[in-house]
C-alpha cells in the first residue's frame, strides 16, 4: 500500500489532487481512498488531504500518519510545518518550488527523495492562474510511476470538462517533463 499526504491551503485543490490520483488508480482496477482532513473549509488556511492506493481492499479508516509520498502544493507552507513528519526512509517529497532538489534544505542526511516542480510558473503559463493541484500531479506521476498520464486523463477531463480539462492536462504534462528529481 502506498500512502500519500498532500499539504496545501484551503482553495488550492489539494483534495482534488488526492481525488484524481485515487480515481485513476481505481479505474485501473486498484483500490484507493482519497479524503480531506475533515472539517470546515477555510480558504487560505493550511489544509491536508490524504490518499491511499493498494492492489487489495483498504480497511483503514484513519488519517495517514506514515506517508510514503508527500506533496506540498504551496512552498510557503514549508516554513509552517515539517512536510516529512512521519515519513520513513525512502519516502518521496514533491514540492512546488523554483528551487532544485539539492537547494531545498529539507531532510538533509535522510534518504528521502526530494522532487521539485516549478508549478507556479507552469500553472500561470498554462492556466493563467497559479492553481497548481493538477500541475503537481505531473511531478507525482513522474516521481512515483504509480499511475500514468493516460490513467489520469479521463478523470481529469470528467472533473474539469473538456476545455479546462485539456489545459490542466497540458500543465500536468509539462510538469511531468520539467520536474527535477533529486538523488
Amino acid at each position: 500500500m502506498l500512502e500519500i499526504r498532500l499539504h496545501g491551503r484551503g482553495g488550492q485543490g489539494a483534495v482534488t489532487s488526492a481525488e484524481l490520483i485515487a480515481i485513476a488508480a481505481i479505474n485501473k482496477g486498484n483500490f484507493a481512498q482519497a479524503f480531506p482532513s475533515f472539517g470546515p473549509e477555510r480558504r487560505g488556511a493550511p489544509v491536508v488531504a490524504f490518499c491511499r492506493v493498494d492492489d487489495k481492499k483498504i480497511n483503514i479508516r484513519a488519517k495517514v500518519y506514515k506517508p510514503d509520498v508527500v506533496i506540498v502544493l504551496d512552498p510557503g507552507l514549508l516554513s509552517l510545518l515539517d512536510p516529512t513528519e512521519g515519513m520513513g526512509e525512502g519516502g518521496i517529497l514533491i514540492i512546488n518550488t523554483k528551487k532544485k532538489p539539492q537547494e531545498v534544505a529539507i531532510a538533509p542526511g535522510r534518504s528521502i527523495k526530494v522532487v521539485t516542480v516549478d508549478a507556479n510558473t507552469i500553472a500561470t503559463e498554462e492556466l493563467g492562474r497559479p492553481i497548481v493541484n493538477t500541475t503537481m500531479l505531473g511531478g507525482f506521476i513522474r516521481a512515483t510511476g504509480l499511475i500514468g498520464i493516460d490513467d489520469i486523463k479521463e478523470p481529469l477531463l470528467e472533473r474539469f470538462g473538456k476545455k479546462l480539462g485539456e489545459r490542466n492536462l497540458k500543465a500536468m504534462e509539462r510538469a511531468y517533463q520539467e520536474v527535477s528529481i533529486g538523488e
Binding site: A22, A24, A32, Q33, A34, F35, I60, R61, A62
Partner: protein
C-alpha cells in the same frame, strides 16, 4: 445505468443509489456532514434525471413531517440528516415509527452539541435509539450504496412498514472517495418492488392516521410497535440474503471476522470495524487469538446472533462512540452486557469509548485498546468504561 465500478465520494454514491431506487419524494435540510448527499439529489431532480419531488424544507422538523406525509400516501420517501438536524426532527422521528411509515434515512453520524462540533461519533443516533426505527450501520462506501436498496426493501416490506436509518460515519465515510460497484437498473428493479402499502391515504379508501390514544389503548399500541420491530428481523435477514444472491455481497445482523478460534474479540459498530480487522490481522501474526465482532443491525437488536457470535469467548472489548452520561458507559456495551447477563460462562466485557467528535483512532490506538482491554478483562476490571486517549 450499467453495472460499473467507480471511484466516487460515498455521499454521491448514496445519492445515486436513492435515484436508482426511483424514489418519489425527498425532503431534507442540509447539514454537515450529510450535505453532499442531499445537494447531489437536488441536482439530480433539478436536472430532470429523476422524476421525484425534492422538497426544500425550512427545517429538519419540517423535513420529517413532509416525509411522514409522503410515506402515508404510499410514496417512496428518502431523507438524510445529522446531529443537530436529527435533534430538531426528533419529535416527528418518533411519530414516523409509531405510525409505521416506511422511509429510508441516511443518517450521517455526527456528535451533538455541546461543545459545538461537526465531527463524527455516534451520539446523534443514540439519542433516537428507542424511537422504534430500524437502525443499520455500514462500514464503507459499498455498504452505504447497497443498504439504500436493502433499506427500502426492508422498510416497505408489507410485514415491516417501519422507517429505517442507514447509519454511516460522518466524514469518515461521507467525504471518502473510494471504489463503489454500481448495480444496473435492471438488478435494482428486480430487487425493489413498487411500494405496496396496505393503509395508504387515498380518497377511495379513507382511513384515520395518527389518532390520539386514551390510556385504555396506548399500551396496546406500544406493544404493536414493539412486536412490529421484532417482526422486522426476518425481513431484514431475507432482504440481505436476496441482495447477496443478486450481487454477491451478503450482509448479516452481526458480522464476524477471524472469530472461530478467537479467545477474545473487539466489538465495533460502523466504519471502525474496518480498521479493527486490519489490526486484528497484525495481532494474529503475533499469535494473539483475537477476532472482530461487528454489530450491523442495531435495532431490532439481534440478541441470538450476537450471543452465538461470542459464545465461548473469554472477553469482549467493546468500542463505543458515545457516552450515556451518568450511566454504565457506552450504549453498545450496555446492550451487550444486558444481552449476556446471567448467562453461564458469558465473556467478560471491557468498555472503551473512543473517537468522540472525530478524534482519529489509528491502528496503533486499536492495538492499544485491544491489548489493554484484554489485560483488564483478565484482571477482572470490567466495571464502567474507559475514555480512550483522555488527557489528565
Amino acid at each position: 445505468m450499467a453495472r460499473q465500478r467507480k471511484g466516487i465520494e460515498v455521499s454521491i454514491a448514496m445519492a445515486d443509489a436513492v435515484a436508482q431506487a426511483n424514489v418519489d419524494v425527498i425532503a431534507a435540510y442540509p447539514i454537515t456532514p450529510q450535505t453532499h448527499i442531499v445537494e447531489h439529489l437536488s441536482e439530480i431532480v433539478a436536472n430532470g434525471e429523476l422524476d421525484a419531488e425534492y422538497v426544500p424544507v425550512e427545517s429538519e422538523h419540517s423535513a420529517m413531517s413532509v416525509c411522514c406525509g409522503s410515506s402515508a400516501v404510499g410514496a417512496r420517501t428518502f431523507t438524510s440528516t445529522s446531529s443537530q438536524g436529527l435533534a430538531l426532527m426528533a419529535e416527528i422521528f418518533y411519530i414516523a415509527a409509531s405510525m409505521r411509515l416506511p422511509m429510508v434515512m441516511a443518517l450521517a453520524n455526527r456528535s451533538l452539541s455541546g461543545p459545538l462540533s461537526i465531527w463524527n461519533d455516534h451520539t446523534d443516533t443514540m439519542m433516537v435509539r428507542d424511537a422504534g426505527w430500524i437502525h443499520v450501520f455500514v462500514e464503507n462506501g459499498q455498504e452505504s450504496y447497497d443498504n439504500v436498496f436493502c433499506g427500502f426493501r426492508i422498510s416497505e416490506d408489507p410485514s415491516v412498514m417501519l422507517p429505517l436509518a442507514v447509519n454511516l460515519d460522518g466524514f469518515i465515510l461521507t467525504h471518502m472517495i473510494e471504489p463503489v460497484i454500481y448495480e444496473d437498473n435492471e438488478t435494482i428493479r428486480k430487487y425493489l418492488p413498487e411500494v405496496r402499502m396496505k393503509n395508504a391515504l387515498h380518497p377511495d379508501n379513507p382511513v384515520s392516521m395518527g389518532c390520539f390514544a386514551m390510556p385504555e389503548i396506548y399500551t396496546e399500541a406500544q406493544m404493536g410497535r414493539e412486536q412490529g420491530l421484532l417482526d422486522a428481523y426476518p425481513a431484514v435477514v431475507k432482504a440481505w440474503k436476496e441482495w447477496g444472491d443478486l450481487t454477491g455481497r451478503y450482509y448479516r445482523p452481526v458480522e464476524t471476522y477471524r472469530t472461530e478460534d478467537a479467545e477474545y474479540c473487539i466489538v465495533t459498530m460502523g466504519s471502525y470495524g474496518e480498521t479493527a480487522m486490519e489490526v486484528v490481522d497484525a495481532l494474529r501474526e503475533e499469535g494473539e487469538k483475537v477476532g472482530v465482532v461487528k454489530i450491523r443491525l442495531w435495532r431490532p437488536f439481534p440478541f441470538e446472533d450476537f450471543r452465538s457470535a461470542v459464545e465461548g469467548k473469554k472477553s469482549l472489548i467493546v468500542v463505543d462512540r458515545a457516552i450515556s452520561f451518568g450511566g454504565p458507559g457506552g450504549p453498545v456495551a450496555l446492550e451487550l452486557r444486558s444481552a449476556l447477563y446471567g448467562r453461564p460462562n458469558a465473556p467478560a466485557i471491557v468498555n472503551y469509548v473512543a473517537g468522540l467528535a472525530g478524534r482519529d483512532v489509528a491502528r496503533s490506538d486499536f492495538r492499544k485498546i485491544i491489548l489493554e482491554g484484554k489485560a483488564k478483562a483478565s484482571k477482572g476490571e470490567t466495571e464502567g468504561f474507559t475514555l480512550y486517549g483522555l488527557r489528565g
